[in-house]
Subunit: 383 residues, 4 copies
């Protein structure tokens, strides 16, 4: 696929995800972690405008100078930004304006991509596309949160990504102790945090071939797992009690039955055979402790996954998100991409049903704070 | 005007106010005090559905049972409600749905009003219309807040209510000491908090015939009034410092010049001859103290206003919002209307350019917490 | 009594109140409103040092220049102060140091008072003594809070001020409508907020000759008064729910019985015949509403109290704390005494068992925020 | 040394540390992380009473049943506890009571230790002594915080532990790549988190033989390191700005000079040749980034430290505090000791001048949240 057609196809996909939305759905920000869908659409356009068009297309005229202020996310290098909790207070630019902005940027990009760009720009462009794919996945999470927390429980679409989360039968895969190689290899795109390729020593371990199911997780709930501090980290126990957590996100106990919000609309009975999802690291670790097992490290995961079927849900690991040996940040704004988050977060490995096509990689390192759970995550046991 | 045509004209006016809005503007709630415009539109329809149609129109079928949950404001009698800070997180019902809801309720009301309702229902209906007019004024405040806090400073309309705020020349009106009568008299509609009519003793006082102007207020700013604790109540001084307040709401100091957000779009130079507005009680009291004067009480105001020109801006008074002698709450949900707010708030008297037609009364008692200032208020000196 | 002996007797009484304390009791600040006893002792000495000795005794040498920083309360005129929530973090100066400071100041005051001071200084001195008496009453509240919130429920003293709170039989006193005079008259000391003497018009009213008893208040509790929003102001209802309030402060429901902390140590059964105390204005108003009655205004109280027995507990009134007609602040730091608190607080009238001798006056206006209840307050019904 | 004499000497040392304190210093809790010294003294006694005496000494009579409530720290197994932020609100038990409690427990322990206890009790006892030594170090931190944040800057003692923090000349130690063994070995006491001994692969690295000095850190400050987001993690940058951090804890910029609080009393000029201390992980990492270097991992540290001089300050590492392979918690309350903190914290290695004698170990893993800095920590560069 040419760079241009790749560009156009990625850009189009963001809009496809938003197609089922009403204008109002694009605007709200029910919690700080969730961004309004129109913000994602604007921000990803802003990325190309700011890092590709403005520095490289001499005659390029900015769509609207105020948009820099509105659509910057966290690139301190680039200047003041709307603070994150304010995103949901902005009724303007309208959704229509944002789509015009995207079309404007895309048209300029089309002109720009008539000629083969130089290597460094091409790299930035590919980064921009991967960046947009990450926001596509966030769009999935955020749209679900917006609809799934509305008291009317509106539908996203009849056909949707959650229809195939069934868990396979469990087998234990054994991996032998030894020195293994970790991290991205080769010339394909990867994020800076997947480099450099390096050796780790792993002790013997066993890992489950399947994700934990709703049925298994329900046993934990029914065994009063949420009421027994023994299974929980100290800060997790505070989190459970402060937030009165008693089940995964989107679960509702109605008339003695567990229901969950369904993207096809309304609350539906839990599918016991599906993989459990929308749990925090705290819950994943508490469940594992209750089972007398543990989560794999990200290194164990990367080695074992070569022989596993993976990719329906991001899998919480025991590993903290830290730099690999020899890690170095790129200079300038792009250098803010990953390194500055390398404290206090946990690594998730794999991919999910919400991950965009061609955005899946064995060495991919996703990361979230341990108390978050609005993303499509799950849990695989190790021992 | 017949009850029906009165009903239809009031109902229509809420929609007229919202006509210049984009769909997105209907949805957001930038601060707790501001409600999304679509919420005002839904809530005022809900009032008629809940208090008139459901109890009195036998065959009436609720538009949507979930709307009770979404559009109740604070009537604890009527059941659970969306907590106030959550209103801006609701993308559904959509704006279109809300307009359908209004049309549905209006059609049912038209049928209902074919026959003359009994007296108690008529009273409730008139209360409902006054209630909607109060929300019309809140709509004005909230729309201004939403647009005036957007970094793009979008226009509401070319012609708008702030174009005639010019202040008259100041004269001091003297009022003699004596026993005066306060409160509503006669059979016209009034709120319960304007009753009962009662006597108060007033000492001699003088009151200005004009509101304080931007020019005068600017002197206070330039004399460092915001930096001198002497003029401020203790809790006001905390408010100034915690919120870093240095000027009225909507004022911006740009390139050595004071600008203010303009409903016609953008930031425009301050009109010095206009009445100062969008100040808190704290600021009004501090300004009066700096002048060596004071605010009138609501009783002084009500007596003096018989000889004053008033009504461009709600005027802060020194009075706290308390029950008049003999005040009693109506039974049921309607009784929650006023009495439960009679603590910690200050009274404002008069009316404003945002007040709906026919919703102005000498005895009207408006009330806000002393730190609020997004409403159209102002200040008249007394001594 | 001479000025000097009056001075010495007031000063001594502060120390008498603290006599039963352990050193540790002097230090802690369990909530923002409560100050450490050693702080009260230091602050009242600081008042005489700062306003009498430093300006008037030429050769006076400050005890310790840092004490100005530590013991100023809220006199912005006098400079930076330890912020209020930090008072309980200061282990130094020690209790012994504070007593030395008091002795040092008292010795200097003795020299100073050998000669009759000029009139303006005398006035300041009398203000200082009244100020210290106010802190004596606060000491009573704060010591009770410190001991009564300790899980060991230690004793203050076997004989104490709460032993005589029995309520008399209830009779209704009728007062006729008319114009009455309010406020302090004559040359005795009063606070600026009791001036100027002025006329008010009062409608007919009736007022109870007795305070509400624990027995009556218990009926309110048992009738589920704390669970019925109808009786509560809107902000009171939030207060009840946020703080999970179900009874007056210091009450504990243990083994199906209501107990209360006893200054003689431990938890003891409630005395049903005693006046109810340690309730907020919110609770007082809710109780009155449940009874179908109301609280008196401070003006009604001042007129009626001429024929009532009063003074065991400060009585919540319906009145907000506002300036009397013609009120003006004194210049300088002393002017910060009262006026700056005249917003958002409620007036209490009377006096309490914790009030110091000779510090009781018909026209005295005490004031607290409506949600506070650690002071000795109570409730008298009106209708 | 016999078990008993070891017991008595450890117990004595806690009291020796507190000897210079005034009673008031034992009581306060200026921030949540700091506990009142009397609480440490009581809590360490409670440990022996609860885990040794009550289960093993048949005739043992509890000193005071309420003390369990007051002195439990975080052992959920053992029952309700005073919530952590309330510790500074408790004036009782008094300091004298706490010393009596210690004497009572020590006497009972002396009787108990007349006979050789069985192995499992002996292990618990040794854990108790190590636990007390940890609290001895915390006492050092907390006492410094209490005195060093008092506006009078009182002295702890003329001779004190900070007098020998001079940094050596810097040399770079090279370590070759390879598989190394990590974790405690042998039969001596260690905490559960130092087990099990396991292999790690390390790439080549270099590590400084000396800690970073105040002089070097000052360069970072003067190069505006605290104002340049580039060096900081995203959450660190929020921390710097929210808390307005501009230098290590206890540093004050007075009259154009950097001073620091001195345990001998008052503020003294910074000793440039001393190791920098009282910095957060965030600051350590930002400094390293500014230098173009990094912090060592705890594994690199443990291998390199065999050839390094270490022990004046706890050294921040890049490693998160996670379980070693095969880690398992002890059953019961003792199992809450370490495992439940294994999320969101960073590892520090080494020991400090505040560490108690015989409480220093190459494999010791200390851990704190990345934003804390009241402990004696420092920084060693790696590359």
């Amino acid at each position: 696929m040419s760079l241009l057609s790749n560009y156009l196809s990625v850009r189009k996909f963001s809009e496809t995800i938003c197609e089922p939305l009403q204008i109002e759905d694009y605007v709200v920000q029910p919690i700080e972690d969730v961004s309004p869908p129109k913000w994602h659409l604007g921000h990803t356009a802003w990325f190309f405008e700011t890092f590709i068009l403005k520095p490289n297309l001499i005659a390029y005229r900015e769509f609207d100078p105020n948009y820099n202020y509105v659509f910057n996310s966290y690139y301190e290098t680039v200047g003041a930004r709307v603070i994150r909790t304010d995103r949901g207070n902005l009724s303007r630019p309208t959704v229509e304006d944002v789509y015009k902005y995207r079309a404007y940027v895309d048209e300029a990009m089309e002109s720009f991509l008539c000629r083969e760009p130089e290597e460094s720009v091409k790299e930035l462009l590919i980064l921009g596309l991967n960046h947009e794919q990450q926001h596509q996945e966030l769009l999935r999470y955020d749209i679900k949160y917006i609809l799934g927390h509305n008291p009317l429980f509106p539908a996203y679409a009849d056909e949707h990504i959650e229809q195939d989360l069934k868990v396979e039968d469990q087998v234990w895969l054994k991996v032998d102790a030894g020195v293994y190689e970790i991290g991205h290899e080769g010339n394909d795109f990867c994020f800076d945090n997947e480099l450099g390729r390096h050796k780790v020593y792993l002790a013997d371990f066993e890992i489950s071939t399947s994700l934990v199911s709703n049925a298994e997780y329900l046993e934990f709930i029914e065994d009063k797992g949420y009421q027994d501090f023994k299974h929980w980290h100290a800060e997790a126990w505070d989190w459970v009690n402060t937030n009165k957590i008693t089940a995964p996100l989107y679960w509702h106990f109605v008339d003695e039955e567990w229901l969950r919000y369904d993207l096809a609309g309304g609350l539906k009975p839990l599918k016991l055979e599906d993989a459990v999802t929308h749990i925090s690291f705290y819950e994943a670790a508490a469940f594992a402790s209750w089972k007398g097992m543990r989560l794999p490290t990200e290194f164990e995961w990367e080695i074992a996954a070569q022989k596993l079927d993976w990719g329906k849900l991001w899998e919480w690991t025991e590993s903290s998100y830290l730099p690999y040996p020899g890690f170095s940040k790129a200079p300038g704004a792009i250098g803010e991409y990953n390194g500055k988050f390398m404290v206090s977060q946990k690594v998730l490995r794999g991919a999910s049903v919400a991950t965009s096509p061609n955005h899946k990689r064995l060495t991919y390192r996703n990361f979230f704070y341990p108390g978050l759970r609005w993303h499509y995550n799950g849990l695989r046991l190790s021992k």
